[in-house]
Symmetry: none
DNA sequence: TGTATCAAGAACAATAAAAGAACAAATTTA
DNA sequence: TAAATTTGTTCTTTTATTGTTCTTGATACA
């Protein structure tokens, strides 16, 4: 199969990304409208080339619209707008992270993660309640061992206790600050603290509320 | 089996979506009325093709209406497993929902949605801040038109303004209650309020904080 | 410069669909 | 039971839509 031209690529990308938004396979005219073209004559040629490449099903004069082949649909699977992250366990202030028994995975939308490796924790406790992070919420953590002041981090204290807090780092002191006015900021020696990741996303289910 | 023509597709979609609203299988004339056709002659041909495709049960002159086969009902099931939801737009208290221009879809983990149809909105404003729902958060809404007292709903006020609030419904009064102590509960006539969905999930990105 | 790609549009052929007439079978009503 | 009505079926005719094929001209690129 030859490499696709720019336009062929654009059309396939468009179709793959908008499969869901067409309730049925679009006709050439509909595609033209969606793509901003004024006439379907030239689009037809491009579609035919894609039929040749095995990415679109032949239309042979049937009026059934432009349908992607299974092969084409597979192309998009890896580059979906989400990815599967490891659900590691439960984080509760003052305790080690309680790992869950069987490794679980959760599909997390790109909107609340980053390009870098991330993992998921479930939050236990109210220490970040004023930041809108509640007991039972999930948090998405980007895995890294450094953070900037003011970021929310998973911090390992004295190699034993894990906690989710705002961090402030100074030459001779590291502060872990809760978002809960009934709790106090904690002061540590920098060596006592290991950063295990930085908060990049959060999510919550309201299903069990009922 | 060949792919369906547009009209065949439309009819199957219609039947699937309106199964519940027909007390008995619709006759050809009823279907014509529902679909805006003036004569059943042409509809019959299309139905026969669908019988041939195994999606509709053969009628053989029985006057009992059009029934989908089990196979046809399965067609929609797989898309249920998919966790791709429509990102509809932005909800800001006191304004209509501001639809986004191009239909977008977001992949939402099963943990923060339900089995029923859901859609996604972005929240603007602070009216639910004490419930941990902040300006800029996404909310996942289960699409239904009724709610129980104490649930958080997308309510359409006077057919014009949309808002996200706790709801309390009494025979002669409906209350929309914010989760923000600097705001007041609003009192309405029940007829002023249309429920457009119930909150089932929430999520937030911390990426832009940096 | 020549080549490949692409947009626009005209013209055409095939298919799909709408409308309606006429009839037969099933069902309901009187 | 008989008549009336509804429903499904089979046609034909007409219209609309969709896919196809060409030609012309513009643009990008090596």
């Amino acid at each position: 199969m030859d490499a696709l031209t720019r336009k062929q690529h654009e059309i396939i990308d468009f179709l793959l990304q908008n499969q869901a938004s067409f309730t049925r396979p679009p006709s050439l005219d509909q595609l033209c409208a969606a793509l901003g073209l004024k006439s379907r004559g030239s689009l037809h040629r491009i579609i035919q080339d894609l039929v040749g490449a095995g990415l679109i099903e032949a239309m042979d004069r049937k009026h059934r619209g432009v349908r992607l082949t299974e092969q084409a649909k597979k192309i998009v699977q890896p580059s979906n707008n989400s990815s599967t992250l490891r659900y590691v366990g439960i984080i509760a202030a003052g305790k080690p992270i309680e790992a869950i028994e069987n490794t679980e995975f959760m599909t997390i939308p790109d909107e609340i993660k980053t390009e870098n490796p991330c993992y998921v924790l479930k939050v236990k406790g109210d220490s970040m309640i004023e930041e809108g992070i509640y007991d039972g919420d999930w948090v998405i953590i980007e895995q890294r061992c450094h953070a900037r002041n003011g970021e929310i981090v998973v911090a390992l204290v004295d190699k034993s206790e894990a906690t989710l807090k705002f961090i402030e780092q100074y030459p001779h002191e590291t502060l872990l600050i809760p978002a809960n006015s009934s709790m106090q900021a904690m002061h540590y020696q920098p060596a006592q603290i290991d950063i295990q990741g930085v908060l990049v996303g959060q999510m919550r289910s309201y299903r069990s509320m009922v």
